[in-house]
Structures are given as structure tokens and as C-alpha cells.
């Protein structure tokens, strides 16, 4: 196709437009890669901008997630209605058992109090709880995180533990003004210092994106059994010690995994523990705060 006579401007303009489009594509591709690299280098600027973007969209996500929650609640209500008799029976038996436990617990508490006063033991400071609703489930195949509708203005900061009534769900990895992201303990980037309750063996709970995070750095002479309960050890100073996480599953190939108490697919609300703010002033510099926590 030959341009015939006429405006040389047009003849020039077309290739330039094409050129700009080409460059725009290349530029955007490079920008995408630059962003990925920058975020890997943990630039706080990127995190700040992301937080602002999430904050802007948080109210919308909050609104959108409510019908889904309502439907889910309705479905489970109907399901519960179906086996209400069996459930009632089970609860009655459980209640009887728990009453006996309550008696024991009262006795032990009194005894504990007496012994503590004998030893002049200083108890851990009481932690503060912040409740939040899950507004965004991760739609990524290779990330396990969630967005919640509380942020810095509610007292959330990076590093705090997020719990449900059953156990530890994850920790706050970034906090905007009114929203925050929780990295679940199943995510490949999650590492939590833990202790096996029965044997007192220390280890690190490492997520690998599967439902069952692995227990690594377990001492070679550790004697752990399937069913043992794993709790946070409190090392590192961010998480309080003793938060329940899950039960150990020993597989045949020697890998020790933990089955979390939290059912992540049913996660609707979390309690974020504001623990650091009630800790006594520590000199910091990343040193171990074991003295303050144990």
C-alpha cells in the first residue's frame, strides 16, 4: 500500500504512533518486572502504596463480601437444623464432661495462684484483642493470605498474631489505615517459632502452601507423636507464647506436619492480638526477648 502524494505529516505520524505503542508495551512490561524486583527488595514505598490502594477498595470489598457471608451462614444454619437432635445430644454429653473439667480447673487455678504468690512470679502482661472481618480471600494459586477490615486506626501493626477461637491463623504482614493483610500460617513465606506441648521440643512451623504446614528444625532426638499439640513458643517477641496452632501428623516419609485447628476456608472473623504494645520496653535491635516471654 503506497501513500499517494498529500501530507507527509500523515505518512510520518502513522509509524510514530505504532512506535509509541510498541514502546508503551515494552515500557509496561519492564515496569511490571521492575515492580516485582522492587517488591522483592522489600521497599517500604511499594508497601505503603499498596496499603493505600487496598484502603481505597476495602469498603467496596467489605460490602461485596457480606452477601457471600450471609449465604454461607444460611447454608450452614440449614445444615445444622438437619441434625439438631444429634447435635443436642452431643452437646449435653460434652457439657457434663466440661463441668467436671471446670471443677478441676478451678481447683488448679487456686493452687496455681497460691504457688505463684509463694514464688513471687510475675505473670505475662495481658494482651489486647482487636476483632476484624475477613473481606478478601486470596484468589491466587500460590499465595495464602487474607484481607481484613481493620487497620492502623484500630491499633493493628505489622507482625501481630491473628487468631480465631480455635487457634493461630496467621500474622499481619501489612497494615493500611482501615485494612490489613494476614499472611496465613500455611503460606510458603510463613515461619512461626513453635513448641511441642508434650515434649517441650522447639521447632519452626514452615508453611508450604499446602493445608498442612511442616515442622522444621525439630531436634533430631525429639520425641513427637501424632496428635501432639503444637503451640507458639513466643520466641522472637511478637507472638505471645502458648497460642494453640494444631496437632502433629507424622507421615511415613519422616516429614512432620501440623494439622491446624483453624479451618481456613471457614474463616470469617479473626482476633488480632496486640501484644507488643503491652510488653515492657525492650532494648530491641532484634535481640531475643526470651526472658520477657518465658
Amino acid at each position: 500500500m503506497k501513500p499517494r502524494g498529500g501530507s507527509s505529516v500523515l505518512r510520518l505520524a502513522l509509524p510514530i504512533k505504532v512506535l509509541i505503542q510498541r514502546f508503551a508495551f515494552l515500557f509496561l512490561i519492564l515496569a511490571a518486572f521492575a515492580l516485582m524486583l522492587l517488591s522483592k527488595a522489600e521497599t517500604s514505598a511499594i508497601e505503603k502504596v499498596s496499603n493505600v490502594v487496598v484502603d481505597i477498595f476495602a469498603p467496596l470489598m467489605d460490602g461485596l463480601s457480606q452477601p457471600a457471608a450471609a449465604i454461607s451462614d444460611a447454608v450452614s444454619a440449614v445444615r445444622q437444623l438437619a441434625n439438631i437432635h444429634a447435635e443436642n445430644d452431643r452437646l449435653r454429653r460434652e457439657n457434663a464432661r466440661l463441668l467436671a473439667w471446670q471443677e478441676t480447673s478451678r481447683r488448679l487455678m487456686a493452687q496455681n495462684q497460691a504457688l505463684m504468690s509463694l514464688l513471687e512470679y510475675k505473670p505475662d502482661p495481658r494482651a489486647k484483642y482487636i476483632a476484624a472481618r475477613v473481606i478478601g480471600d486470596s484468589g491466587g494459586a500460590f499465595v495464602r493470605s487474607m484481607l481484613i477490615n481493620s487497620g492502623r486506626r484500630d491499633g493493628l501493626t505489622k507482625g501481630q498474631a491473628a487468631m480465631t477461637g480455635h487457634g493461630l491463623a496467621g500474622r499481619v504482614t501489612s497494615a493500611g489505615l482501615r485494612s490489613a493483610r494476614i499472611l496465613l500460617i500455611t503460606d510458603i513465606n510463613s515461619r512461626v517459632p513453635v513448641i511441642v506441648q508434650a515434649s517441650r521440643d522447639r521447632a519452626i512451623l514452615a508453611g508450604d502452601n499446602s493445608q498442612l504446614p511442616r515442622l522444621v528444625f525439630l531436634p533430631s532426638n525429639a520425641s513427637v507423636n501424632s496428635g501432639d499439640i503444637v503451640v507458639t513458643s513466643g520466641h522472637g517477641g511478637i507472638f505471645p507464647a502458648g497460642l494453640p496452632i494444631g496437632r502433629i501428623i507424622r507421615s511415613d516419609d519422616g516429614v512432620v506436619r501440623v494439622n491446624p485447628f483453624v479451618r481456613f476456608e471457614k474463616l470469617e472473623f479473626v482476633r488480632v492480638i496486640d501484644y507488643a504494645s503491652v510488653l515492657p520496653e525492650t532494648s530491641g535491635q532484634g535481640g531475643p526477648h526470651e526472658v520477657a516471654l518465658e
Binding site: F33, V53, G140
Partner: protein, 171 residues
């Protein structure tokens, strides 16, 4: 004949339909559905939109728009920023260059094409994610996600076609 202000506003509003749709789909894809195992393999609604509109109306979905939609998806999903932006840009370029193959042909061909694109996208995201965390990741969730995305494509494509006929036939 110069269009009146109202006409121009109307046209502008219609022009941003695919972009707004993209943002809406990003938000929809982050909703927690409380279905066991659904989260990690939730269908990638945005991928469907970018593929569809890049074939049928590339003029309404510029590379910059696609980049920004991808970036929003990254930020809200919690993926490394830039990853979806990169994948969606590739999908747009491919869809625009191969648009003639799909336009006016039977839907089955479009569906096949999309299946391949969804699988390729899942592979790229898997490879980039693995590089990002320096670990060999289990590719299975990505495969499931690609399958789910492909399976749901006809429903959204039908919706997009309807939108294209009702809203965008004059622009």
C-alpha cells in the same frame, strides 16, 4: 454533525465499560466464598475479561488499562505487584494479534483458545512465583485454577457478548 455534550458523555461512559468491568471482576474475584478449597483455585475472572475484550474491542482496553487492572489484582490478591500485570499484558498482545482467528468463528474455537491461554498464564504465574520465593512450588493449584477458569469461561463470555450488543454496539 458535531455530537452534543450528552452524546459525548454517553460515548465516554460506554468507552470505559470494559475497564470498569475489569475493576469489578478484580473485586469479585477476591470475595471470600467460604467453600473448602475454593480460595486457591478461584477462577481468574479478570483473565477472561482481558482475553474477550482484547479480541472483540481492543480499542476499549488499552495496554495501560490492562496493566493497571493487573496491578490492582496483584495488590488486592496479595501477589507480588507486577505479576498479573505482566501476564495480562502478554494475554492482551496475543489476543489482539490473533483476534482475526477468533472473531466470527464458532464459540468452541474461542473456548479452546482461551483454555490454552489460561494454561499458559497459570504456567507463567507458577514459574514467576517459584522464582520469587526461590522454591519449587507445587503447580497443582495453578492447574486447578486454569481448569476452573476455562470451565467458567462460557458463562462470562456470554455475559460479555450481551454487554457488547446492548451497550457498545454504537461506539
Amino acid at each position: 454533525m458535531n455530537p452534543t455534550l450528552a452524546q459525548r458523555l454517553d460515548r465516554a461512559a460506554r468507552n470505559v465499560v470494559p475497564a470498569m468491568l475489569g475493576v469489578l471482576l478484580v473485586l469479585l474475584s477476591t470475595i471470600p466464598f467460604y467453600i473448602p478449597g475454593y480460595g486457591p483455585m478461584a477462577a481468574n475472572l479478570v483473565l477472561m475479561a482481558v482475553f474477550y475484550w482484547s479480541i472483540h474491542r481492543p480499542d476499549l482496553l488499552s495496554p495501560v488499562t490492562v496493566f493497571l487492572i493487573g496491578l490492582l489484582q496483584d495488590v488486592l490478591v496479595g501477589m507480588p505487584p507486577g505479576m498479573n500485570a505482566f501476564v495480562l499484558l502478554l494475554v492482551r498482545t496475543l489476543a489482539v494479534s490473533q483476534g482475526r482467528v477468533f472473531r466470527g468463528r464458532s464459540f468452541i474455537i474461542l473456548w479452546w483458545g482461551f483454555g490454552i491461554v489460561a494454561l499458559a498464564s497459570a504456567f507463567i504465574v507458577w514459574a514467576l512465583s517459584a522464582m520469587y520465593v526461590f522454591t519449587l512450588l507445587d503447580p497443582l493449584p495453578g492447574l486447578f485454577q486454569a481448569g476452573m477458569t476455562t470451565a467458567l469461561f462460557p458463562f462470562l463470555a456470554g455475559l460479555f457478548t450481551l454487554m457488547q450488543q446492548k451497550l457498545l454496539s454504537q461506539v
